[in-house]
């Protein structure tokens, strides 16, 4: 334990990890070369479909956003004032209702 730590470190460094198996290196090489092959047509179609869907989604969002932000014209506010019913209208309406009820009861 009295040995300086640097010396101990140097001794450990003398140990060499086992080199990789040739077969493993070959397998890695073949996997990497497979990855670098041009992608099949189906991949192209998939990406085309994804791009079209994304474009359509953007268009829909754009339309919705545009509609919700359309400004109303800044004209004078229109206030609709309903004329109050003239005096006597209620009584006439009641009388008509009474007449109908009377006919049905008879």
């Amino acid at each position: 334990v009295t040995e300086p730590i640097d010396q101990f470190e140097a001794q450990l460094r003398r140990l060499e990890p086992r080199p990789l198996d040739d077969l493993l290196v070959e397998e890695i090489g073949s996997r990497l070369s497979n990855c670098s092959q041009p992608k099949p047509q189906s991949d192209g179609l998939l990406w085309c479909a994804i791009s079209c869907s994304a474009a359509a989604a953007c268009l829909i969002i754009g339309i919705i956003a545009h509609d919700s932000f359309v400004e109303l014209p800044n004209g004078p506010a229109v206030v609709i004032v309903r004329p109050s019913a003239p005096m006597g209208d209620y009584q006439q309406a009641l009388a008509r209702a009474d007449m109908r009820w009377g006919d049905e009861l008879r």
């Binding site: 101990f8 001794q11 460094r13």
Partner: protein, 169 residues
């Protein structure tokens, strides 16, 4: 660079880092074959993303992730099979080091297994992978200062454990 040169470029990388990576992966896996699988998966992942890579630290991070994934996915099924596999496969229990200094290597492997995982991985990356603490920080996601202190603790603990073997070697 044409495409063939670009494709061949991976060989020097693997030649330089392969042995260290295999030893590193061995810290999570139960046998040589699993460690080699982790190196393969990690290296391919690294090479495919090399444009965005951050060098050796990222390479070790890829192998670390591959080894951990492998270890996690196979833990349940392997538990039963491991003993049988080790008994059948002479490479399964083989040393992760070259035969030179075989006695010390065996003692070091045994002492490494006693270290906490965090200290062990830092020690392996630094000593046999040749990574700097900054690169280790990239690989493990810890602070470089934490990596340095873990390394010091691991080395001290290993020195205590191996005092006898080192003086004999």
């Amino acid at each position: 660079l044409d495409s063939d040169d670009e494709l061949d470029d991976w060989r020097p990388w693997l030649a330089r880092h392969g042995p260290g990576l295999a030893l590193f992966a061995r810290q999570w896996t139960v046998c040589v074959a699993d460690a080699e699988d982790a190196v393969q998966d990690g290296f391919v992942r690294f090479w495919q993303a090399r444009g965005r890579s951050r060098g050796e630290g990222y390479l070790y991070a890829c192998v670390r992730t591959a080894a951990m994934d492998l270890s996690r996915s196979q833990r349940r099924s392997r538990r039963r099979e491991t003993r049988v596999a080790i008994a059948r496969d002479p490479q399964a229990g083989a040393s992760a080091f070259t035969p030179a200094h075989a006695e010390l290597a065996a003692a070091v492997e045994s002492a490494l297994a006693q270290l906490p995982a965090g200290q062990r991985e830092v020690l392996v990356m630094k000593l046999w992978g040749g990574l700097t603490f900054a690169q280790i920080a990239v690989a493990t996601g810890i602070n470089p200062n934490t990596a340095a202190s873990r390394y010091r603790y691991a080395l001290q603990r290993l020195q205590t454990e191996l005092a006898e073997e080192v003086s004999r070697d």
